[in-house]
């Protein structure tokens, strides 16, 4: 491989925009750039593209067009779903039940709601990152208004059985929301069949542009808006619509759906080959979430005795881009809340790396990573101090 080979294995963080998506977007930046709210033909053209995109995206998750709202990102969709429901829920029926492994968009919103008096329960997960359904049943009580459980976990790729969670939510008279930011386009979604009342998606996770999110809200559910302004998106999310971005998202989602089966097979094979190589060539590792239903392209591995960030930079030095769940904030290492919730020891959680494959990942990429990873890990282990390598 050449010295400037770059291998991107961080598709769960963000993805490159596909050429077909760029082609779809371009006219709406250069010729048909009208504001979709304008009355003249420029506006009407933009509006038409906006509504067509809405219809296409709705179709891909089994929803009606009027159930699709466009936002600026997955985080915003999560915020609107939670705050939009709970801020107008009557006291006595305004509780939220969610999980310990959600993305911070859900957790931080939940914390904020908690701080203003809304009861929130966080259901735990087992060692495989799977929500305990009995615990969920116990948590979803009469005062619960909303249950929110992510479809695919961003760190481990583990999938929750959201159909079951939806039933439990409904039995408690609560709505069911799922953060499908990581799963949309990769795992088939049919909101009717799965009993989903609200669902968040994000364009930039699916080879479309950053700055576009979607929130599906079942007909009949009225949410309180979180921001105020013009009447866009039926008043739920005011602000001039990002028509090029939205058109691109519709295109990207269609491509993903059309190629989904084949992509799944391909990514799974490469991911499994990477994990096989690691298992074969590197001792004292832990595969977090393996053996459970996962996104086909995600692998989360703990390397005993090595700090995740150190490993990340060492790999970055070799032109390989990955991520780690740990964060170093205000002078303390904070291991991934997801891994900790799974019962992974804080030290192993601190030693984890997430590999997320996607569109554009090749067999050569995997082979190269597999070939250099052992020596990278070995070098850092030689430098390492005071860590036990047992228990893997």
């Amino acid at each position: 491989m050449s010295d400037d080979t770059l291998i991107y294995l961080d598709h769960n963080a963000t993805t490159p925009v596909r050429p077909e998506v760029i082609d779809a977007m371009l006219p709406f930046m250069t010729l048909r750039y009208g504001n979709a709210s304008s009355v003249h033909r420029f506006g009407r053209e933009a509006k038409k593209a906006l509504e067509e995109s809405r219809e296409r995206i709705a179709g891909l998750i089994g929803a009606d067009p009027e159930e699709i709202y466009f936002t600026g990102c997955g985080t915003e969709s999560d915020n609107i779903a939670l705050s939009g429901t709970l801020l107008k829920a009557p006291s006595g029926k305004n509780g939220l039940v969610t999980t310990a492994v959600e993305h911070s968009a859900i957790l931080k919103t939940a914390a904020r709601l908690e701080s203003i008096g809304i009861p929130v329960a966080y259901v735990g997960v087992d060692s495989r990152c799977r929500v305990d359904m009995d615990e969920l049943k116990a948590a979803a009580i009469g005062s619960t208004a909303l249950v929110s459980i992510m479809h695919a976990n961003n760190e481990t790729g583990v999938l929750q059985v959201i159909e079951r969670a939806a039933v439990i939510a409904h039995d408690a008279g609560a709505l069911f929301h799922t953060d499908a930011v990581q799963s949309a386009g990769k795992i088939p979604i049919d909101v009717r069949r799965m009993g989903i009342d609200m669902l968040s998606m994000s364009a930039h996770k699916l080879n479309a542009l950053k700055g576009v999110g979607t929130l599906y809200v079942r007909k009949g559910i009225i949410l309180a808006p979180v921001t105020y302004g013009g009447g866009h998106e039926r008043g739920l999310r005011p602000g001039t619509e990002n028509v090029p971005g939205i058109v691109g998202f519709a295109k990207a989602f269609e491509l993903a759906a059309a190629e989904r089966a084949e992509t799944g097979v391909r990514l799974r094979a490469m991911r499994d080959r990477l994990e096989d190589a690691v298992r074969r060539d590197i001792p004292d590792v832990l595969f977090n979430g393996m053996g459970t239903e996962r996104l086909p392209g995600t692998s989360n591995i703990s390397f005993a005795g090595v700090d995740g960030e150190a490993l990340l930079f060492a790999m970055d030095n070799e032109g390989i881009a990955v991520s780690t769940g740990s964060a170093c904030t205000s002078g303390e290492v904070e291991p991934s809340h997801v891994l900790v919730a799974m019962g992974v020891s804080p030290q192993m959680a601190q030693s984890s790396i997430r590999f997320s494959l996607g569109w554009g990942t090749t067999d050569n990429d995997i082979d190269h990573v597999a070939s250099v990873l052992p020596s990278i890990v070995e070098r850092l282990r030689r430098i390492s101090a005071g860590v036990e390598r047992s228990g893997c």
Partner: protein, 124 residues
């Protein structure tokens, strides 16, 4: 995020390892959760003749450990005792604010090693 000096010390750390019969051992950090540093020193005539480090931690942790060994190797204990948390960070052309605790760990491990030496070899 990191200066060139930090990355240099991270990719090519100096004095990695463990002295066989150290005159002083310094340990800092929490093995349960967080960075861990171990320094071993060899002292003769009050000079740090040799020093090694082993560190479990991020780039900043490894770089600050490496830098601290470079700063004191061949220096007197007195000079070494004057190495502060600031000195370590400055020698590396600075650290991101969230990583300053790593330079604290390195300086503390050094002082721990010197203290350990002094306890084992009280001044006459």
């Amino acid at each position: 995020m990191y200066s060139e000096k930090v990355m240099e010390h991270f990719m090519h750390p100096r004095n990695v390892g463990e002295l066989e019969n150290p005159d002083g051992i310094g340990k800092q950090g929490n093995p349960v959760c967080g960075d861990v540093m171990e320094l071993t020193i060899q002292v003769k005539d009050d000079i740090i003749k040799d020093i090694r480090f082993k560190t479990f931690g991020c780039c900043a942790a490894i770089a600050t450990s490496s830098m601290v060994t470079e700063l004191v190797k061949g220096k007197s204990l007195e000079e070494a005792e004057r190495i502060s948390r600031q000195t370590v960070a400055e020698s590396l052309d600075g650290l991101p604010p969230a990583k300053m605790h790593c330079s604290n760990l390195a300086a503390d491990a050094l002082h721990d090693a010197i203290r350990d030496y002094r306890e084992k070899h009280p001044k006459s």
